[in-house]
């Protein structure tokens, strides 16, 4: 039995046989083992049949013997397709070239990305990668093996603890894990620690340098607390010194406090705005309030995360009124001292502690309380003073 696939590969011709004794021809063909199929007699005595191309050329002696004549009607199969293709050989050539170009372009490294570098510049990594034979427009098959490449990169790049090279398609990514370097110390010149204020020392701890004072010593402003001269050399003195300092405050507190409050009355105004231009659409009319505050709210048109310069602006006009709150004298004094304490903490550091306070003097005049208060504060009194070298005389 014949297989249609193989007969198409070998190529088949459909022929029309006329005249002579066709039956004899068929018998001869079958006898010689020439495969013929789809024999179809026509009413005029001729016959259509199909055979392989190779067999067609063995037909001639048989035709002469049987007196038949033959005409090719149609051709099919691979040999004829190739023949037709040969007629368009430049098209075929171009197509093959296209495939070849696409294939070879996909065999190039197109992109190198460097990930995970913080300290090491990307240029350095790429430069060393180039030395190792990894650069854009390099053939992928010419690359060194990936484990070898990562080992070499790791060896040549200082400050890396691991380098990984991986390739997906035409993209090579270099993953870098940097080694953590110890922090560099800031360079400092030798210095003393001196006092910022007249104080009594309550606590002294010298991490570096020679302590010059003891606990409970009285110090003047500018006095050296921890000296930078130690053991014949100069050091950067470091330490913590706390002392009791007295601060004198003059405080005045009004007995009547004015406060603005909302009455609850409001008026709304709506605008449509384009860029810096706004058109009022609602809330016309004069504002009926004597004192008021305006709250403005913008609602721009947004598209995803972009804000368009067009939108709705609403203004709320809120009526306000001033309330007068009368304070008792005691409350005024307490408020004043509280304010002063906050000021001390703000000026002398958060670790300052107010140990005691003493109202030296107070008087009420013109609706205000005037007073003079002395605070005893334990605070940090150390301040750095660089040691200046004598330049000689």
């Amino acid at each position: 039995m014949k297989s249609p696939v193989f007969s198409q590969l070998r190529g088949a011709v459909g022929v029309l046989v006329r005249g002579g004794s066709i039956e004899r021809l068929i018998n001869e063909l079958a006898g010689q083992g020439i495969e013929i199929w789809d024999l179809q007699p026509l009413p005029d005595g001729s016959m259509k049949m199909t055979m392989h191309v190779a067999d067609f050329f063995r037909l001639r002696p048989l035709l002469r013997r049987t007196g038949c004549r033959v005409r090719v009607q149609h051709r099919s199969g691979l040999p004829f397709a190739l023949l037709r293709l040969w007629g368009r050989k430049w098209f075929v050539f171009g197509f093959a070239l296209f495939i070849a170009v696409i294939f070879s372009l996909s065999q190039l490294v197109w992109d190198i990305e460097v990930n995970g570098n913080v300290e090491i510049p990307e240029e350095d990594v790429l430069k060393i990668a180039r030395e190792e034979g990894l650069y854009p427009f390099q053939w992928i098959f010419a690359l060194p093996r990936q484990d070898k490449l990562s080992a070499e990169l790791n060896r040549k790049l200082p400050g890396t603890s691991w380098v990984g090279v991986s390739r997906t398609g035409t993209r090579v990514s270099i993953q870098i894990v940097e080694a953590t370097q110890p922090k560099e110390k800031k360079l400092m010149s030798p210095r003393h620690l001196i006092s910022t204020a007249d104080a009594v020392i309550t606590y002294i701890y010298a991490e570096k340098g020679q302590p010059e004072v003891k606990k409970n010593d009285r110090v003047k402003k500018g006095q050296i607390l921890i000296s930078g001269f130690q053991g014949g050399g100069q050091v950067v003195s470091k330490g913590e010194v706390k002392g009791n300092v007295w601060h004198e405050y003059r405080i005045e507190v009004p007995l009547v406090r004015k406060q603005r409050v909302y009455t609850g009355e409001k008026k709304e105004q709506g605008y449509l705005y384009f860029g810096n231009t706004a058109i009022q659409l609602s809330g016309y009319g004069k504002t009926p309030f004597e004192h008021y505050q305006v709250m403005t709210e913008f609602n721009p048109l947004t598209w995803r995360s972009f804000k368009l310069p067009i939108g709705w602006m609403s203004e709320k006009v809120l009526e306000t009124t001033e309330l007068e709150i009368k304070l008792s004298k005691d409350k005024a004094i307490r408020d004043g001292i509280e304010r002063a304490k906050r000021d001390i903490v703000a000026k002398n550091g958060a670790d300052s502690v107010v140990l005691s306070q003493k109202i030296l003097h107070e008087k009420t005049d013109n609706g205000k309380v005037y007073m003079k208060v002395l605070f005893e504060v334990e605070q940090n009194i150390a301040e750095e003073l660089p040691i200046v070298h004598d330049q000689g005389e």
């Binding site: 039995m1 014949k2 066709i22 039956e23 068929i26 018998n27 063909l29 079958a30 083992g33 789809d38």
Partner: protein, 96 residues
């Protein structure tokens, strides 16, 4: 084929229950509906037209009648016929 040989063969077929087409060189026909006909052991085409096909056999001839007959495939011993088959006739048999 001599008479004696034929008798021996017939006896062998009967005794051993062999298929007679193998031994006597008789044709084997396989008809599928009225559409397709396989004929094995033919001896060549005598006449072929859309209405009839005459095949030579080892003894006598076989005529296939029908309309639109086509030989789908032909080999030295086998032939496959397609079309609307109306009748199959045997001619010129020496003995049944």
């Amino acid at each position: 084929m001599s008479r004696f040989v034929r008798k021996i063969r017939k006896w062998t077929v009967d005794a051993l229950d062999l298929p007679s087409d193998l031994v006597f060189d008789l044709p084997r026909l396989t008809l599928i509906g009225g559409k397709q006909l396989y004929i094995e052991n033919h001896r060549g085409v005598v006449h072929f037209s859309p209405e009839s096909l005459q095949l030579e056999l080892s003894q006598g001839t076989l005529e296939v009648e029908g309309s639109g007959l086509v030989i789908r495939e032909i080999m030295p011993q086998e032939v496959v016929i397609e079309g609307r088959i109306h009748g199959i006739k045997y001619r010129g048999m020496e003995e049944s």
